[in-house]
């Protein structure tokens, strides 16, 4: 292993140890901020796993996130917590397979629009069901798994798992297949890649992480309704974060999460009414200034330096 890699591994390990100890060291505010950071860390990394490598830009992140939250709202008081998480993962995987089978034949803009539309559809269906069948639009979430420390710990494990999966993708045949799909899907097929299977598998894995993230943080809200759980802004934020970080490496999206979560935190506090405008401007700036994200910029510089030597 090269010294840089050893250093990177140690830095990552140190960060995780520090994060694990953080709830004891800081106050309620820092813990809540860290929960937010790790939540988006999981979502953006999971998004990058599939969408970053294959370049299928999905706006369905919040659909899976919302399904996770609703699973907790419905089953939270009836089942023990581990079973609730398991149920959420299973429902999410099933939904992802279904959506994947329908949509992954679409490409480019059509896929983007379909995922966005599907999220809205899901929100409306839940809305309709809650108001017509269940009787009230919102639900209270009272479960034992609501302490910030516990949520923090679960998210930390989930983040470690999704990053580990990303690391494995980087060296596995599946990950290589996804990169080939991102480069040129037709050529990938003619190289012997079973593209449908690879896409479906990766899309499902990525979605399961989003569902679990939604399930884990649901107890924080105590009250959810479809507008909160399926808030489309979340999908856009995840895309922006992943793009800022860059998706050429599995650890890229996290680099975008940290500055943007902090920025959004400030915006919500000081400019709550102008939030969507600033979000749009930030999006434009990133696409113009860093089209391939921080990771792409660093890699490009490295290559240039290597070439000029």
């Amino acid at each position: 292993m090269s010294p840089t890699r050893v250093f990177a591994a140690l830095a990552a390990l140190g960060t995780f140890v520090l994060l694990a100890l953080a709830p004891g060291l800081g106050n309620d505010y820092t813990t809540s901020l860290l929960i937010n950071l790790m939540l988006y860390g999981v979502l953006a990394t999971a998004w990058g796993l599939f969408c970053g490598t294959t370049r299928y830009i999905s706006l369905a992140t919040v659909a899976f996130f919302g399904v996770g939250s609703y699973t907790v709202a419905v089953l939270g008081e009836r089942l023990p917590w581990p079973l609730v998480l398991l149920a959420a993962a299973a429902i999410g995987a099933l939904l992802a397979l279904l959506v994947g089978l329908v949509t992954l034949r679409l490409s480019g803009t059509y896929f983007v629009i379909f995922t966005f539309g599907m999220t809205e559809l899901l929100r409306q269906v839940v809305n309709w069901y809650e108001s017509k069948v269940a009787g009230s639009v919102g639900r209270y979430v009272f479960v034992d798994a609501a302490s910030p420390g516990f949520i923090h710990g679960q998210l930390l494990v989930l983040l470690a798992l999704v990053l580990a999966l990303g690391w494995w993708f980087g060296r596995s045949r599946l990950g290589f297949a996804l990169r080939l799909i991102g480069e040129d899907e037709q050529a990938a097929r003619h190289c012997g890649v079973d593209t449908t299977r690879a896409k479906l598998l990766a899309f499902t894995l990525s979605s399961v992480f989003m569902v679990l993230a939604g399930a884990i943080v649901a107890p924080r809200w105590t009250y959810i309704d479809p507008a909160i759980a399926f808030n489309a802004i979340v999908s856009f934020q995840v895309v922006i974060m992943a793009l800022l970080g860059g998706t050429a490496r599995f650890w890229g999206p996290v680099l975008g999460v940290v500055p943007l979560v902090l920025l959004f935190e400030l915006l919500v506090k000081y400019f709550p009414n102008h939030f969507p405008i600033v979000l749009g401007v930030v999006f434009l700036l990133i696409v113009y200034a860093l089209p391939r994200g921080v990771v792409g910029w660093v890699l490009e510089r490295g290559r240039k330096r290597g070439a000029s030597r």
Binding site: R173, F176, A177, R179, L180, E183, D184, Q186, A187, A188, R189, H190, C191, G192, V193, D194, T195, T196
Partner: protein
Amino acid sequence: MSAPLLQVRGLSRAFGGLRAVDALSFDAGEGEIVGLLGPNGSGKTTALNLISGALVPDRGSVRFAGAELAGAPAYRVVRAGIARTFQLVRVFRSMTVRENVQAGLRFGRSARHGGHRDDEQALLDRVGLGAQAARMASELTYIDQKRLELARALALQPRLLLLDEWLAGLNPSELVEGVRLIRALHEAGMTVLMVEHVMDAIRSLCDRCVVMNSGARIAEGTPAEVLSDARVVQAYLGDDDLEAADV
């Protein structure tokens, strides 16, 4: 005599009212170079797409080494032993030359798992890209991208190679080099089906040619035979020029 390696029978595909490939039948024997000729729009590329699994035929059969491949997805066609190149070069542009060949090695017939640097190098040397392994595919010149595409196809360890105008757009010296490469493959026992417009290359490489027009086969034989066939001349040049043309 055993059955030919590739047997195409009654292959058809229509796009709306246009019958792009219409009941096409031909064979390619083990070790042969077969040219697939015809004027623009005669259905040659569609035929290759049908054989390679890029498109699903409406009717017909593609038997390859005893297995029926008509309608099979592309990756299964590849694993059965058919590799192709594209009319407009399709390399994995933001990957290195080496990674492009790895793609073939890792997902091809033998589906080996990484770490075969020797094979990559051997393949790259074979097409003359040995010194460029670490460069990005997008940085290569047009001919080198074509070579890379060929190396990637060879990495799949095919028994049949489909070349879609692989020699088009090359300058005269590159053309000589390209013809030499294909001949070397032929001598190593590879079966090749090539769509091509470069007549010199067809004459010097092909054992047999199949000529298509409006989706159907209009002639078959040695290059000299088909190029002097009246129907072929008519297909390329039209009726009025039939007497003047002396191919």
